[in-house]
Amino acid sequence: LGKKMRMVRPWHRLPREAVAAPSLAVFKARLDRTLTSAAPPRGGRAVPGMAGRLLRGCVRAAGLCPRRAFGEAAGLRDMGFSQEQAQRLLGVESRLSPQRREAAVAQLLLLGLNAEAILGLLERRPELLRMPTERLQERAGKLRGLGLDGGQLQRALIRCPELFTLPRKRMAAAVRLLRERCLFTAEQLREVLWTCPNVLLEEPHQLHHHFQYVYFRMGVQQKEMVKARLFRMPFAELRNRHIFLERRGLYQTPCKGQTQTNNPKLKDIIQLSEKDFLANVAHSTPEEFEVFKKLLAREEEEKEEEEEEEENRDALYTEEDEDFDSEGSKPARE
């Protein structure tokens, strides 16, 4: 019985209307449609043909395939993997049952990822194969709900497979923060998400600090943050570069209301390699920057220790806790 249950499961992962099809031909047609709408082909890759492969894979996974002798590799080849890719894929989590493997792969195909992308993804994140397929589905749905279309969704997932495994609450908190605290528009959020999906992995208070630093300390507006792909660079690295520029006298926090500055563009601070950043923006040497980073790290460490001590001292003297809003001044949208 247990085996039967498992064999049936993949059907439930397919879109409801496809599964409820009266005949195989109709099912195939609907599946093709589902695939096309869920994942518009990028670069004109023919998705329709994929439906057939996918279908064969699913049918096989459901125990309907008569050609068991071809083994698992054949099943994967049916789904569009080359012999070599199928072999590699089988090497990932090799103890996994064929059914579960194919079900997960089918789910990824449904998101519109191609064979090579799936392989790359699973080689980096083998644990995805073990995820219940409804989790994969649910997560993809959430991301679509945030406005990511097929191509953007694919790119986000390839760039950041952790999106699948991130707890739902964490993701929701990060999204809320970006919209409500950082005041990114829905459109800006969408762009942030597909260009820097890892933003959702940041601890919310960390993320808030990251944003506030750039908004208040560097004086950069949301629009420019999005364009510069702000969240692609880890905060610590951005801060290293910014404070280095600041101490060299090459970056100044703009005054309130000031729109024109001589500051380098955020894009150039973030997107250049360290070598190019030093040569073209900071006009400095790797030796200086190396030492600077070490010194700054030590400064930060000691500042934190000091603050902690201060807090402990304060705690000793505070009778009642005053109620206050600990948030910094709120950012405004341009």
């Binding site: 506030q212 208040f216 300390r217 004086g219 280095f244 101490r247 060299r248 006298g249 090459l250 926090t253 703009p254 005054c255 309130k256 006009h283 400095s284 030796e287 200086e288 190396e290 030492v291 600077f292 070490k294 010194l295 700054l296 030590r298 400064e299 304060d314 005053e322 206050f324 600990s326 948030e327 910094g328 001044s329």
Partner: protein, 410 residues
């Protein structure tokens, strides 16, 4: 001296931006907000100092300024001046295990190698007096001329350990030996250069005109060569610190040979004229590193504007007093920890001029460029200094700023 006033229109505008609110400490609950605030309630002295330096030093140092600026704003490097009077023999070992090296002995090794190589060259060039070789011979001669100070200048007993370039390790605090004497003194290693330049010889009568808190006094005593050392500083509270340093580093019998006084250095000539072989004039200045880092006691405080504007004048008067206190044939080293040419070269030039015209004393500026060569591994020197030498802070060798210039009273 207009630039030194530091009150150009931009600074004035900065200052106007708002009246200073009460000086009560900020309640802790506002600190978080303050962190992001674009405008501080009062413009900190450090900001004013930095702005002033941006205006002046970018002209003076040009492309080098950003690098110096960042260095001033980062943690400075120290050197450990070994206390030769301490009985703790393990310090050197301990320091060397940590990869620190004595930059003074390294410099003197270089000087000896240089001198030896020169011997060889001189030997070689003697039989070769072919017309075509004239240039080589002339070069050798100039080098030969330079060699005595080159060799002598660092034959001191001063030892100062520093960590290599780019190494940000810190020294542990000084430790007492069994007699309660501390094993080393932590100071900006560049501060030793003026003392090395003074080149104390056995039996010299030495004056340290602005001595407190006493780092350089301590270094002068480490040579073990001073016939007599007079350490003066106008500030009573700072002379107390000088005393306490002498107490923690120098054994009683030697300590008692140092005469500590609290005169206004400008009046020195009225007390004793022309008596010293060596005089160190380490004047008060804008203390650039302090000015951009610490609010407390900041010379760029609005209240101290007049005092700051008068610094070059005070420096000039102190240097004049130093020159007058020197025996004919004696040496004066003038030093500051500022980058400002108005407090450095300009003061020296004026002093040489005044000595000549008003006192009929002839003073020559001595060439110290060999210091650059000998200590370039440890310090980063400014190559365009008109007179004297200037150590520029650099992130990989974050010592200085330190200006020093040596004068010879003829």
């Amino acid at each position: 001296m207009a630039a030194l006033g530091g009150c150009g229109p931009v600074v004035a505008a900065l200052l106007r931006r708002g009246p200073a609110p009460g000086l009560r400490p900020v309640p802790r609950r506002y600190l978080y907000k303050k962190k992001w605030a674009a405008t501080a309630p009062r413009i900190p002295c450090t900001r004013l100092a930095l702005h002033h330096f941006d205006v002046n030093y970018s002209l003076q140092l040009k492309d080098l300024w950003p690098s110096v600026r960042a260095s001033l704003l980062c943690e400075q490097k120290y050197g450990a001046l070994l206390n030769n009077f301490s009985a703790d023999d393990y310090v050197t070992q301990e320091l060397e295990l940590m990869n620190a090296t004595d930059f003074v002995s390294e410099g003197s090794r270089k000087a000896q190698q240089g001198a030896a190589a020169e011997e060889v060259r001189r030997e070689e060039s003697r039989p070769q007096e072919v017309p075509g070789k004239v240039r080589t011979v002339m070069q050798t001669e100039t080098q030969a001329e330079m060699s005595p100070p080159l060799r002598a200048s660092i034959s001191s007993n001063i030892k100062c350990y520093t960590y290599p370039r780019g190494d940000i390790t810190r020294f542990r605090p000084a430790r007492q030996d069994s007699l309660g004497i501390l094993d080393y003194y932590l100071m900006d290693a560049a501060s030793l250069l003026p003392v090395l330049a003074l080149n104390v010889q056995r039996g010299d009568l030495v004056l340290d005109l602005c001595a407190a808190p006493g780092g350089k006094t301590l270094a002068l005593l480490q040579t073990g060569l001073c016939g007599h050392l007079a350490a003066n500083d106008v500030s009573i509270s700072r002379t107390k610190r000088l005393y306490s340093i002498l107490n923690s580093y120098i054994p009683k019998n030697i300590r008692e040979t140092v005469s500590v006084t609290s005169y206004d250095g400008r009046d020195w000539k009225q007390l004793e004229g022309g008596t010293f072989h060596k005089v160190l004039v380490d004047v008060p200045c804008t203390t650039d590193r302090h000015a951009v880092m610490e609010e407390e006691n900041n010379i760029f405080h609005k209240r101290r504007t007049k005092e700051r504007q008068m610094l070059p004048m005070l420096q000039l008067q102190l240097l004049m007093a130093g020159i007058l206190a020197t025996k004919p044939g004696g040496k004066v080293v003038y030093s500051t920890c500022s980058l400002s040419s108005l407090q450095n070269e300009c003061v020296v030039e004026r002093a040489v001029d005044i000595a000549e015209t008003q006192f009929n004393i002839s003073v020559h500026v001595e060439d110290l460029s060999h210091f650059r060569m000998l200590f370039q591994d440890t310090f980063s020197f400014f190559s365009d200094c008109r007179l004297g030498e200037l150590v520029l802070p650099h992130l990989t060798a974050n010592f200085g700023p330190m200006y020093f210039c040596k004068l010879h009273r003829v």
